[in-house]
């Protein structure tokens, strides 16, 4: 019992927002706690610690994930992008800009997760991934409001900013397209 409870530590390398971090972590630690407590990147939020609210959403190898459900030790060598890594220097990403313009947040606590989720989600759409509301999964999904709402439903917002969030994601998607065109 005692020996089982003794913390086990492991060496770990994480590449967060392009920067390499060599860490020695408690094997029980979540990626979220390592980001927040060890690396000091507190942008990713802890709302429930159970993968139910999405406030901790980050991009792991480009895909959105709940950092609270990811054991840090299982992600040795992973590339992680947090909300702190979405802007290009001082230049905000189109989705970040759109969140401000559409007042897509109030208290701001779910916002980092919403932003990472929206960023990852737009990539998923670009790659042709369908969602539960995609009528014909054999075709390229069209990102209408129903698609946005469905795809963003893993991120809760208790302030009730969803109307703004949907508008912001819609606008952010458009300016991403414009930038890519």
């Amino acid at each position: 019992m005692d020996s089982e409870a003794t913390p086990v530590h492991a060496d770990l390398t994480l590449v967060v927002n392009g920067r390499e971090h060599r860490l020695n972590v408690d094997t029980r630690a979540s990626l979220l706690d390592v980001l927040r407590e060890d690396i000091g990147l507190t942008g990713s939020k802890k709302g429930c610690d159970h993968g139910q609210c999405g406030a901790c959403t980050v991009l792991i190898e480009g895909r959105r994930a709940n950092a609270c459900l990811a054991l840090a030790v299982a992600h040795d060598g992973a590339e992680v992008v947090t909300v702190e890594g979405l802007a290009d220097g001082e230049r905000l990403s189109p989705v970040q800009e759109a969140f401000i313009e559409n007042d897509a947040f109030q208290c701001g606590y779910c916002t980092p997760g919403q932003l990472c989720s929206a960023t990852g989600m737009l990539d998923e759409v670009d790659q042709g991934w369908p969602s539960a509301v995609t009528a014909d999964v054999s075709t390229e999904p069209v990102l209408d409001d129903d698609e946005i709402r469905e795809r963003m439903s893993g991120n809760l917002c208790r302030c009730g900013a969803y109307v703004g969030i949907v508008a912001a994601v819609r606008a952010g998607a458009r300016s991403r397209e414009a930038a890519e065109a």
């Binding site: 927040r36 939020k45 429930c48 159970h50 702190e84 109030q106 208290c107 009730g160 969803y162 109307v163």
Partner: protein, 685 residues
């Protein structure tokens, strides 16, 4: 239209919340909850926990520092053996790391002498009593005319009982405190709170300190909705842990523990009797409310108070009966009183509309009043009718077929509903300081809170307007108890209260400015105590009207709110962008109340059974479609220098009734027990 001033910080992750301040040598707390619903702690075995490497302290009633419990029994953490409800904190571990603290908390063995908890709210509970007052200072009962007789004599009578369940605030940021004691005995708290000044004075009292020895910092707060309106046990736990270990200690209440320890809305049982003439004019209104509190602290929700304000009727009665159960302590949740009370009133008004055949909008217009029915006071402004009419126009209400359960689109039944909203325009005293700097900029300081309301932005607009300066030259600093004392962000009173202090400080500063600002700057302060006390007697309330369209799957009873529209009369709107978000946010929470939010009491063991966001459902993005909010022009000289009424709560008031009335219109089924889930609706389809 002004974007939130802290927008950039919030979208880049730079905005710091309480847990996130970088502090050297910090330790972590984890709490142990009572596993019985009522009884006594016999022993606390901490041996296994203490053997874990990295455990710094284990706290319980056996060794915790003594504190003063007078301000609030919930803050008397570890002060006695008594277990008042299941889930109450009975011990805590302070550890070097989060993982260690949690593991050790799991190893603490608590033995109890358990008794059967009494946890069921019933209208025949022998412990029901009439509280001395209901929150904050309203009489429990009121009566005018001869309500019982008038009801009996009325041509049209509706006599129904509505119930609302316990509901939990669930702000996205858990209740969090980072506590640091200084060598000189002073206490620094980074806290997730709606009121830095009130945490300062309350916690000073709890720890026997002078208020000047406590500083509370909270520039960003991840929502509260009332649950952070007063310090919860997390503040005491962190401060105690820091005192015992001599280390800074931080504690965020885990989501699962929030359901027992951070407050919630009481369940209510509300009997309504409306007596009216055949064309819907009310002759008698009787509203009798039953609700619960805990044995630790009395909280009496003012559920029937909106009934005292809304509609004319010569004969009327309201009453509140409370029972103290072995349950977690209820507290403020967004528009306490108005939210459950208006759900019932606006639902029963819809029932009266159905019985009399009067259009629901017209029924409310017909019962409008220019004086507050119970106080007899004139309204400072009342534009309920304007909201109803503009809302009806915008929503496309005209020509609505009142027949319930007749509009079918494939598998879906479709219906529309309306409900009124109201919320008092409160104002609290407070202070502010305004400074002119030699470089031409201005700084205003006040211990106000921005929990997502947009208060920082609104106050900056108010200061700039008063100073007649560009907003870029004005900085408003808030969220620090070291600034002039401010009231809590609650009762939708923040902007009215703090804004008035800001206006008065800025006016005073302007009066002193004549040309050059001296090198040391120029300062002026204001205290609004006298101004708030000496206001003329008016009934000051905001009003609104909400319209909802729902579709109900006839086979599964799944309900979807297709669109929702609110029109509000709230005096002058200071920042349209954030105001709209406040209204829509409240309406969104109202959708949750109508269709999904329900904390289920464990009748055998006590405490709420659903203790996380997978089981306690709040609206998600897919639940909220076309929701929009508007406001009517309203000029009211009797409010405050800004001419504004509070807007943080009125959006949820009436929202659930509008949805419920639409469900009835769609299906012909009146569900009188919230939330309206498929399980409750399907058997009647």
């Amino acid at each position: 239209m002004t974007e939130r001033l802290e927008s950039r910080e919030k979208v880049t992750g730079a905005a710091r919340y309480a847990f996130e301040y970088p502090v050297e040598n910090v330790a972590y707390a984890a709490a142990v909850q009572a596993s019985v619903g009522r009884g006594e702690v016999l022993s606390v075995d901490i041996e296994a926990a203490q053997r874990l490497p990295g455990v710094l302290a284990v706290l319980s009633h056996e060794n915790a520092p003594r504190v003063d419990s007078e301000p609030d029994g919930e803050l008397a953490l570890f002060q006695s053996r008594t277990v008042s409800y299941r889930g109450q904190f009975v011990a805590a571990v302070i550890g070097e790391t989060l993982e260690t603290a949690r593991e050790a908390a799991r190893l603490v063995r608590v033995e109890y002498a358990a008794e059967d908890p009494d946890v069921r709210l019933r209208t025949d509970h022998p412990g029901l009593y009439k509280p001395d007052k209901v929150n904050p200072v309203f009489p429990a009962d009121t009566e005018l005319g001869e309500p019982e007789a008038a009801f009996t004599d009325s041509a049209v009578r509706v006599d129904v009982t509505y119930t609302t369940p316990a509901e939990h605030n669930n702000p996205m940021e858990p209740h969090t405190t980072l506590a640091l004691w200084d060598k000189d005995g002073s206490l620094l708290l980074y806290d997730s709170t709606q009121g830095a000044s009130s945490v300062q004075s309350t916690i000073a009292k709890v720890f026997g300190l002078d208020p000047t020895q406590v500083r509370v910092i909270a520039p960003h707060v991840g929502g509260g909705f009332g649950s952070k309106g007063s310090p919860r046990p997390n503040v005491v736990l962190a401060a105690m842990g820091a005192r015992v270990t001599g280390r800074p200690v931080k504690f965020a209440v885990p989501r699962q523990q929030m359901f027992a320890t951070t407050g919630y809305r009481t369940p209510t049982v509300q009997r309504f009797r409306l007596g009216a003439d055949p064309d819907g004019r009310l002759n008698a209104i009787l509203h009798d409310v039953f609700e619960q509190t805990s044995t630790v602290r009395e909280f009496a929700e003012q559920t029937a108070t909106p009934t005292r304000t809304m509609y004319q009727a010569p004969n009327r009665r309201t009453s509140h009966r409370l029972v103290a159960l072995d349950v977690p302590t209820p507290s403020w949740m967004r528009a306490p009183g108005e939210t459950p009370g208006m759900y019932a009133l606006e639902s029963v008004m819809d029932e009266l509309a159905v019985v009399t055949g009067v259009d629901p909008v017209e029924l409310r217009v017909r019962n409008d009043t220019d004086r507050e029915p119970e106080s007899g006071l004139p309204f400072s402004s009342r534009n309920l009718v304007a909201c109803l009419q503009e809302g009806a126009d915008r929503f496309g209400w005209a020509g609505r077929d009142p027949a319930p359960g007749v509009r079918r689109e494939g598998r879906r039944l479709v219906g529309t509903g309306v409900a009124a909203s109201t919320y008092p325009a409160y104002m609290q005293p407070g202070r502010a300081i305004a400074r002119a700097e030699p470089d031409g900029t201005f700084t205003v300081r006040i211990a106000a809170a921005d929990i997502g309301t947009g208060a920082r932005t609104a106050l900056t607009l108010i200061a700039a307007e008063t100073l007649k300066e560009d907003i870029d030259r004005v900085t408003v600093e808030i969220g620090d108890s070291a600034f002039p004392r401010a009231s809590v962000a609650g009762g939708s009173s923040g902007t009215a209260s703090w804004g008035t202090a800001v206006v008065r400080a800025c006016e005073s500063l302007r009066g002193r400015l004549n040309g050059e600002v001296p090198p040391e700057g120029l300062e002026a302060s204001a205290d609004t105590s006298a101004e708030v006390k000496n206001r003329d007697e008016y009934a000051r309330h905001a009003f609104g009207a909400q319209f909802a369209e729902v579709e109900v799957d006839a086979d599964t009873a799944e309900i979807c709110v297709r669109r929702m529209l609110g029109v509000f009369a709230v005096g002058r709107v200071l920042n349209p962008m954030t105001a709209r978000s406040q209204f829509i946010g409240g309406m969104t929470m109202g959708i949750g109340m109508a269709l999904m939010e329900e904390s289920v009491m464990d009748g055998e063991f006590g405490d709420y059974l659903n203790r996380d966001l997978a089981q306690y459902h709040v609206p998600s993005c897919a639940d909220v479609r076309d929701v929009d909010a508007f406001w009517v022009e309203e000029s009211d000289p009797h409010l405050n220098p800004m001419g504004s009424k509070g807007i943080g709560e009125i959006g949820i008031v009436g929202a659930a009734a509008a949805v419920g009335n639409a469900v009835h219109h769609a299906t012909g089924v009146r569900v009188r027990d919230l939330p309206i889930t498929p399980a409750r609706l399907l058997p009647h389809l």
